[in-house]
Symmetry: C3
Subunit: 306 residues, 3 copies
Amino acid sequence: MPHLLTLSDLSIGTINDILNRAQEIQIQNLYCIQQDIICANLFFEASTRTRFSFEAAEKRLGYHVLNFSDESSSTQKGESLYDTLRTLEEIGVKAAVIRHRQDKYYEDLRGRLSLSIINGGDGCSDHPTQALLDLMTIKQEFSSFKDLTVAIIGDLRHSRVARSDAEVLTRLGAKVLLSGPKEWMNSELPGEYVGIDEAVKTADIVMMLRIQHERHTDGMDLSKEAYHKQYGLTLERERLMKPGSIIMHPAPVNRGVEIADELVEAKRSRIFRQINNGVAVRMAVLEWAVNQTEEAKRHEYTANKR
Amino acid sequence: MPHLLTLSDLSIGTINDILNRAQEIQIQNLYCIQQDIICANLFFEASTRTRFSFEAAEKRLGYHVLNFSDESSSTQKGESLYDTLRTLEEIGVKAAVIRHRQDKYYEDLRGRLSLSIINGGDGCSDHPTQALLDLMTIKQEFSSFKDLTVAIIGDLRHSRVARSDAEVLTRLGAKVLLSGPKEWMNSELPGEYVGIDEAVKTADIVMMLRIQHERHTDGMDLSKEAYHKQYGLTLERERLMKPGSIIMHPAPVNRGVEIADELVEAKRSRIFRQINNGVAVRMAVLEWAVNQTEEAKRHEYTANKR
Amino acid sequence: MPHLLTLSDLSIGTINDILNRAQEIQIQNLYCIQQDIICANLFFEASTRTRFSFEAAEKRLGYHVLNFSDESSSTQKGESLYDTLRTLEEIGVKAAVIRHRQDKYYEDLRGRLSLSIINGGDGCSDHPTQALLDLMTIKQEFSSFKDLTVAIIGDLRHSRVARSDAEVLTRLGAKVLLSGPKEWMNSELPGEYVGIDEAVKTADIVMMLRIQHERHTDGMDLSKEAYHKQYGLTLERERLMKPGSIIMHPAPVNRGVEIADELVEAKRSRIFRQINNGVAVRMAVLEWAVNQTEEAKRHEYTANKR
């Protein structure tokens, strides 16, 4: 029953195995025929990228896909997440991809289910497959993480991507710089706070964060234009970037706010490359989870027979 | 054009054929490759269990699945159910699974369509595949239905499960006991009304019903705690149950209301087993409907050729 | 990157190729096994017929299908259509079927995407696959379009079907008559305005249009009964029709308004035949788009290698 809940649970060895397998999947342009794996997507928050990326990954692996939607399900009748998942388990679901607005929604599910949970993002907490696809993108560019400088800039407080990335990059030996509005600083993140110009100038990777309007309770008083000028990657700031350095963003982009419209598809932008990598990474993660589950079941079966 | 609208339409022989086939499907853990059957799920009421159970069944049979959702379809433009189904028929759909809030919504569809209708629940009236999976669960436990005592307890008035189960179990030779709040008694159900303690003590199967809040117009004045104490399966009442007797519930469960939280996954509970059986039963039902349709078409074709 | 945005973009030769392939697909009752094509359906307006017709077509071709729904996606977070499509492209989508309330939503997408866009209807403007299935239906009946008289009757102003059909039929040599309420006349349509009785009497094809309530901002003051009497195909009017002439309607039908209830499935009605033809036509269109895309990619690849 291996879950992917947060990257903190995975060893560096496992992370590298997943990244290597993702690279292999991408090079082979892998599509599988399989007929006996059912998985489910449970998205309790709006999503295009992550949801379709997972669904494409699942279908390329040949899995049957059940798409759960909040509005038309029994969670409307007050059913708990545990009961919903136990139900899906009995229906034959081997892996469930879950996005949930509640931080660490999975805590009270650990050890109670035989299906694999793949975390598709929880509250402001974690987004492990986004971090993995960011790692894959960085690795394709720089081969290793050691001694790279990564600047993570923007809405550090509400971004689950920031937290997942900062933690795993630090573990992998990269130097993390943090920058953004004072109101959105986040003392829980590993990394050093610097001014945005210094961050942009020094970094090998300039990773801009999406403003998570939908997760804000406190407004920020800045207009979009003012935010862009103070904390965004403007055309002027991009000129400060080092040769060979790249721009990343988890998307969807607020064009002209976090990043100048013209930079989204600029030469040094890897924003759409990240999305492309997302499918391969998710295929590798699903394969890793499901194969281990099937393997575990076989062992159990052999043990029972003796 | 065989439909499954209500179990009353099926002979005991057909019911047994379906149950035997379901058992076979479950033992074989059957997944099929097929490429030329399209089916559709039309759920006009919220559902997790039944909808995903059917979808898993359909995909395990190798069918192509169209998921119709009320909000984004032409029923929004005022289209009738008949016109929607005629449309799906022309699109190539061979079987349509329908859940509808209106009792016997299918009455004016009989004889007008060449696709198979599988009733996924209509109003407070019927839920034939739930009754079949309940039968499968009981048969796995007791081999036969003759002389078993089944206590159906709770919201008898609004439960389509109660009606479907009480009728078919009576036909199969079981003794049905009914219990629950006076306000929710239902004189149309076959069976004998008894007090809840007697029901629990006497029964081989204690079948607790879900309180159908979403179908109530009249409130009940009891708090959840009071309901649980008076009409629920409490920890104390469970101790009255006979050795070898089992607990069933169509789910989703209101934990702590119809049944004590701790009993949901207790040893004698078959609640999740029921869900598991649901997939096999629905595979058997779909196979039965679609194969007969295809068979009928072949005959028609041969007749045309002569 | 061939798109199907409006039939005006297609030569008569290409239109005929698609119609011939659709006919072949229908006769063979074609179902394909394919495993490496992903397509997406993006419907920003309610639809049953078109959406499921496309989905059935896609699945019969063996494609993997992603169903995008407005409510649960990042367009909720303000993402533009271009960014959504670029995302899908990176996820591996080869063809996107789009229905959108905005006329010519595709104008600023042209030349910026490598996936194929298949227009599933835009505002009051175009509905090219509907026109193709109408052509297929007419061709099955009359073999050719030359010198046929087609009367298009009803809500000419808000009907994208009217525009697509009138234009292509004129190009193919048919004579188009137009009729309907003065308020809904549309001077942009090719064709001659005549009274409804004359239209019905003269036409080989009487094509009734759906009243597009959902696209009206200006109400019409007529009751349903009065509309039916003045502009509908009543039982009396049907008796004026020429022998061998047929009735068409894009559906969903407002029974008793545009057309008498009894005529919907009358002998000379081809309304459900149109729906049936829709699947074959859409299979032919998708095949045409996707195969050209794959072909183009192969050429590009060879060119790169040299």
